[in-house]
Amino acid sequence: LIEMLAQQIFNGLMIGAVYSLIAVGYTLVFGVVRLLNMAHGEAFMVAGIVGALAGTRLGLPLWESILLALVVCLVVGMVIHIACFRYISRNVEEAPLIATLGLGLILKNIAANATASEPAVFETTNLDLPDLQVAGIIISPIDLVILCSSIVLMAALARMITSTRLGRQLRAVAGNPLAARLMGINESRVTMYAILISTVLAGVAGILVGLRFGKVSPYVGMTVGLKGIGIMVIGGLGNVYGAMVSGLLIGLAEGLAVAYLGGAYTDMILWILLIATLMVRPQGLFSGPAGRRA
């Protein structure tokens, strides 16, 4: 019984790490432009699909497939920036948001046509290495890669935000866009970097999920995207650290809910926790001073 609980906690943390990567990307962009990037979940999907098809259709080895997927992700990020933020007036506040929604649907349709609506399958999963067994818990090498790369990426992001020129610019634009502009910060360029970083984070998550579960569906983007938004709100709007922690918490809560209540609760649990959080702490669990925001 304890062994099963331990395994379920590990299962939950593993998927939670992926959620964190996605939610952090949302948060980064939201912090800077104060708008949701509704194509964010589709970047996750595109990376996964490209990574899989690069292996099966182009015959590329795994590392080259991953590299290609990340390059495509950067291109998607640039397209999001150019098509939805750079040339769309922010005078109508919702215009960029609607544009990202439209772009997301276009990406979904392209992927669905490329795969005939079926999931794209990764040729290599679990990195073709044997599993580890620690105190009865089965840990795949790819689980460790997911946990480690999520932690490393989030630590690198935290360091970038606090200690680099770009990080300071991001915080400046997030804190007070007008003042940032007056200080000579190029808001458009900062927005572009925020989108590119967030898209790559989503792309890494998409590839990791593909490698862990063996396939990525062209329809997964919206589900993943909505989850990312929910996790971001629970963590505290615009708070990168909040998104990291609440991603892990949601993964854990979902895992335990499925194990002890049933699969029908997978999607429900996040939204129950979201409403509960908003009722008790509308600013989110980890909403802190502006300085901690991205």
């Binding site: 099966t56 599993d131 089965i138 063996g214 329809y219 029908a264 997978t266």
Partner: protein, 327 residues
Amino acid sequence: VNGSQIDLISYDTGGDNQQAVILARKLATENKVFAILGPVFSAESAVAFAQAKQLEVPIISASAAQPGLAAANKPWAFTAQATDVNVQKVVSKRFVDLYHAKRFAIITDVKDGWSKSVVKPMVEALVNAGATVINANDPVTYQTGDTDFSVQITKLKSLKPDAIVLAGLYTEGAAIGREMKRQHLDVPALGGMGATDTQLIAQGGDAVNGWVVPTTFWPDSPDPKVKAFTQAIVERAKLVLPDYPAPDKNVANMYDAVKITAQVMAANNVDGNTPIKDARLAIQKGWSEVKNFTGVSGTMTMDENHEANRSVLVLMVKGGSFVPVSD
């Protein structure tokens, strides 16, 4: 047929129930078709059948397998897919004989109508075959579209079953197989018609080796009729989808449904000049009298509930393809 060419008008419901209603009405009233072949899924068939009944046009789903759908919309609706009660009876007995499995654990998709409806026939068939389903009252559950099954498999593993019975579709089935392999739940699995698709193997890889599923169509059959059909479909499908593996039972069933409709029209002197009301009535009557039709997907007879009685094949996944399991 009788000197007239059949016009095929094709719409895509996208699996959406609302679209199925709109398009069924459009076909019946605007396009003034003699008969509707489709839709694909049970849920959309349920709503489209009701429209067809109201508009008095024959409607035949070649793939919906949920029992009672056609009976609720008689005399105009038909399901040409084998019913789950018959199918599970055959496949469960064969599985128990093959693996000598006694303790089964069931996992089901709570979001999919067919998956929910097949749980009962699956459990009953296994009990009749001399096995028990240890969690029949508390199945392990998931939802269509889930990709992470680690939690579910950990739970199934704790039940220590001899075999798994999957009341779900092939996409999630393939992912379940992969996770079973990862967590070393090394027991065979039994599926239903929803799991029988070449995509189960394409997506599940060697993790689904040894899985047993029922079908009405086996694309690798040595039967020359099936061979020719498979080759023709693959050639056409590859023009749009380079890695198309082979037609599945739904493709074959739809092909047979078109053939039956043409045969029924020919036998009842329906041609392009037949008044629409007479043509629809003749096709409806003809479909209700189909007996021992032999097509690419075996033999079929319509029963009094307008559900097809079909020959059932039992297949096992072996070395990356389906092979038949003999008696």
